[in-house]
Symmetry: C2
Subunit: 228 residues, 2 copies
Amino acid sequence: MIRAVFFDMDDTLYDTSGFAAIARRAAVKSMVHNGLKCSEDEGYGELMNIINEKGSNYDKHFNILVERINGKLDPLIIVNGIITYHNTKFAMLKLEPESFSILLYLKSQGYKVGLITNGKELKQWEKLVRLGMYPFFDDVVTSESVGVEKPDPEIFNIAMERLGVTAGSSLMIGNNFDVDILGACNAGMQSMLINSEITPKQKEILEEMECTDKVRELGSLIDLMKIL
Amino acid sequence: MIRAVFFDMDDTLYDTSGFAAIARRAAVKSMVHNGLKCSEDEGYGELMNIINEKGSNYDKHFNILVERINGKLDPLIIVNGIITYHNTKFAMLKLEPESFSILLYLKSQGYKVGLITNGKELKQWEKLVRLGMYPFFDDVVTSESVGVEKPDPEIFNIAMERLGVTAGSSLMIGNNFDVDILGACNAGMQSMLINSEITPKQKEILEEMECTDKVRELGSLIDLMKIL
């Protein structure tokens, strides 16, 4: 019997990638209006190249973009990108109704609710607070705070220990098969994949790991209510 | 005859210290509401100690505050401080009417207008853009971008050279005697001190430097209109 439900945050409870894409498009539009010498589509494409090269936690994407396109740094263009990116992102930071509903449902039914997220401690907590989501969680585990990240089973073990629950009574919900689902399987938990589909190749992997019975696909967060 | 007017930014054109104090008080209030174990006055006092110890460009003031008061880091309290500080600061970032008026007046009269500011390039530019002040300036010199800071006469020389003006036709306006006024004197410029008064001791220094005739006190930025 499930007593604790653990969630991934980004792209599971909050459409991080979708909203980041909108904020980046807004930022590039502002940069082009302020002198970035390319079209908005070209600028966005190059920005995505830079993010892929440097990772999303690097903090000088816009500097590199301006230097590559215009041949030199221009603070006016860079800060217009930064300001527009942050204004747009913060304007969109609202908890989605489905996430709100399912978290409230789980609490009302007496489940323990945890968050297990890869990322920087304060950056992830800032999202939790701005979204107004943190009061729903009995515990929050960020990879930076515990020094180990998903899919390492250790981060799942830490999260379960902190909530005082066993793997047999724990369910993990996430959008990333390799990170959330395989990690949870290795820690002995049941898990559900959301916003993604299990491929035939991934089904084979689950069979090899003898985890097939422990993993399901979830159409939407609300479906949890019917399943639990 | 004066052809170019150079301004300091912080506490000259914009009440940086006053607004930072309000944003910090708001941040501490939010942190106390979220579990910082002290009164708001105690928290603010300790925060100011930390800022004096670490400098205002250090980015972990709130982390240290929480660790000192509560004995351990608590991400919920820290991010509430950060979010409230930024929300409050950005909400107050508006160009003051006096600054707007005098900048518009100088441009309408054909003066060249420059900015000479100590600080980080993008941090200072972000203020210029958020305040909507940057279009008034023919040139902006930040200490980070040129590798030398006020009161070194070199930064004033760079600024004058970039605007194509001589020291004899240049006026510097700032709030800091040691940084803005002595620096400008050493570069051969006239200068005006605002939001501060010249002390007897400082008058002696000016006499020794033979700068007495080149320095005046300014009651308000608007008074520039009568003087020029």
